[in-house]
């Protein structure tokens, strides 16, 4: 299971990469593996504003529909439109090419609720 150390994680199996311009969000290697071949990604609108925990995107495999909950409150500043035509990037490259959206965090303290790679791995081991 690939878990880059420079990312933060959620118990809903999303990852967050904090960048200067904002925070990128995607799904973890574990999540993409559980989901199977991704065939469709529904992206949020740019400039839309969300509270942490809201379902902002949807990822669908042949069999399953999975909501993506934003781990952070804020405004969407960019979405990965290449996923419209190449949704399988989520399976093939979940942490780099498979980012789903970037948002401008409104509440910096929410970052403290996220898990480190080690904490997320421990959480997966418990599951």
């Amino acid at each position: 299971m690939d878990l880059p150390k420079d990312l933060l994680y959620t118990r809903e199996h999303e990852w967050v990469r904090v960048e200067d311009s904002g925070a990128a969000v995607g799904i973890t290697d574990y999540a993409q593996n559980e989901l199977g071949d991704v065939v469709f990604v529904e992206l949020p609108d740019v400039d839309s504003t969300w509270e942490a925990g809201e379902a902002v995107a949807t990822v669908e495999s042949v069999k399953a529909v999975s909501e993506i909950y934003t781990p952070l409150s804020g405004k969407i500043i960019e979405v990965n439109e290449s996923l419209d035509s190449v949704p399988e990037t989520l399976n093939e490259d979940p942490y780099v090419g498979g980012w789903i959206f970037k948002l401008l965090p409104a509440k910096r303290d929410e970052l403290e609720d996220l898990l480190s790679a080690a904490e997320y791995r421990a959480y997966l081991d418990e599951e």
């Binding site: 071949d37 065939v39 529904e42 949807t58 042949v62 069999k63 419209d84």
Partner: protein, 364 residues
């Protein structure tokens, strides 16, 4: 409730299958992944454990009489070792179950029924029996493997002396496969060439092992319920409980071809004669998504702003690379090209009626 396990359960677990509850059974939904399993069946060979399916045996001098009474297709046309797709209907002409009937001998029929309907079917058929006939639930005597795909014949031929090239579609043979007594039929639920093999649970491990050894070079792959569903949806095979049930008739479901209204009385005949005379009001209709989105089972369908029904089956389908589905539409509004909308997570997305089956096997 404890889920029932098939005789292949341990094998599935060892292969790392993801198991799900289905009709009271713990069954593999996928092994490696729904998409590669689907493709394996279309391009080479996939094997499904369908041991959950039930089998009823009807035997005795009046066996044919009973089969004719409780099914809508004409079983009198069957020769020995021939199979037929048919249905048990209510007096109202709606589906109790859809079934495959095998005539094993003039006075012996085996009927393969859906797992969820097994007890209901058995009670129904037994309750209708009269004369010199015996109805037995033989489900526990059989496991079943569906060996499906263009390489099925070549691989199975390595394991049997039955000449499979001469076993035609919807015909069966009783004989040895992998040194095991079986009933093998050229039938399936995938739209591909293939076979379904019934045999005793005692030989489950032996047959599975021999089959996978024989198929290794051909790319044999275990396949689960997810691939089974997308394969059958692409070729528009009905799924009981979704597309057909006790509220729908074969005429509405596009299965008029299994209803033989010219045969002697059968349960449901009168109702279907009347429905045919009055005109079939709604039709199970195939659609594809126009807007981006995947219509899934039970999503509401709208026509001209009003709810017309639900998606009875809907999925992304790998061989056609499209999201398609089935829904009942008013007959007068079911023509190819008709526009409709599917509500997906609160949004109305455009879809349109297309011809079915969605997928056609390329001529080889």
């Amino acid at each position: 409730m404890t889920l029932k396990k098939t005789a292949f359960h341990t094998i599935h677990q060892e292969l790392g299958a993801r198991m799900v509850p289905f009709a009271g059974w713990d069954l593999p939904v996928q092994f490696g992944g729904a998409m590669p399993e689907h493709r394996a069946v279309r391009e080479a060979l996939g094997v499904f454990d369908v041991s959950h399916m039930g089998e009823l045996e009807i035997s005795g001098p009046d066996a044919l009489l009973l089969v004719q009474k409780v099914t809508c297709n004409d079983a009198a046309k069957l020769a020995d070792a021939q199979a037929q797709y048919s249905a048990f209907l209510t007096p109202e002409g709606t589906f109790i179950d859809d079934v495959v009937i095998y005539r094993l001998a003039a006075e012996r029929f085996l009927i393969c029924v859906n797992a969820a309907n097994r007890e209901k079917d058995f009670r129904w058929v037994r309750g209708q029996s009269e004369g010199r006939v015996e109805v037995a639930d033989r489900s526990d005597d059989f496991v079943q493997l569906a060996v499906q795909g263009p390489r099925a014949q070549a691989v199975l031929q390595k394991l049997t002396e039955i000449d499979l090239a001469k076993l035609s579609f919807y015909h069966c043979a009783e004989g040895m496969v992998a040194d095991t007594e079986t009933l093998i039929s050229r039938t399936g639920y995938t739209g591909e060439d293939g076979f379904e093999i019934y045999f005793s649970p005692r030989h489950a491990e032996k047959v599975w092992t021999r089959l996978f050894e024989a198929g290794e070079e051909e790319g044999i792959q275990p396949a689960g319920l997810a691939a089974r569903n997308t394969l059958r949806l692409e070729v528009r095979y009905a799924l009981y409980g979704n597309d057909i049930d006790e509220t729908t008739t074969p005429l509405e479901a596009g299965l008029g071809w299994i209803v033989k209204l010219d045969k002697d009385d059968f349960i449901g005949k009168q109702a279907l004669l009347e429905q045919k005379k009055a005109g079939v009001g709604r039709k199970l209709t195939g659609f594809e998504m126009v807007d981006r989105g995947i219509a899934r089972d039970h999503y509401p369908v709208f026509m001209n702003g009003k709810v017309s029904g639900n998606v009875t089956s809907g999925s992304y389908c790998p061989s056609i690379e499209k999201a398609v589905g089935l829904t009942y539409l008013p007959a007068e509004s079911s023509a190819v090209g008709t526009e409709l909308e599917v509500e997906i997570r609160g949004r109305h997305l455009k879809a349109r009626v297309v011809p079915t089956p969605f997928y056609k096997r390329p001529k080889s």
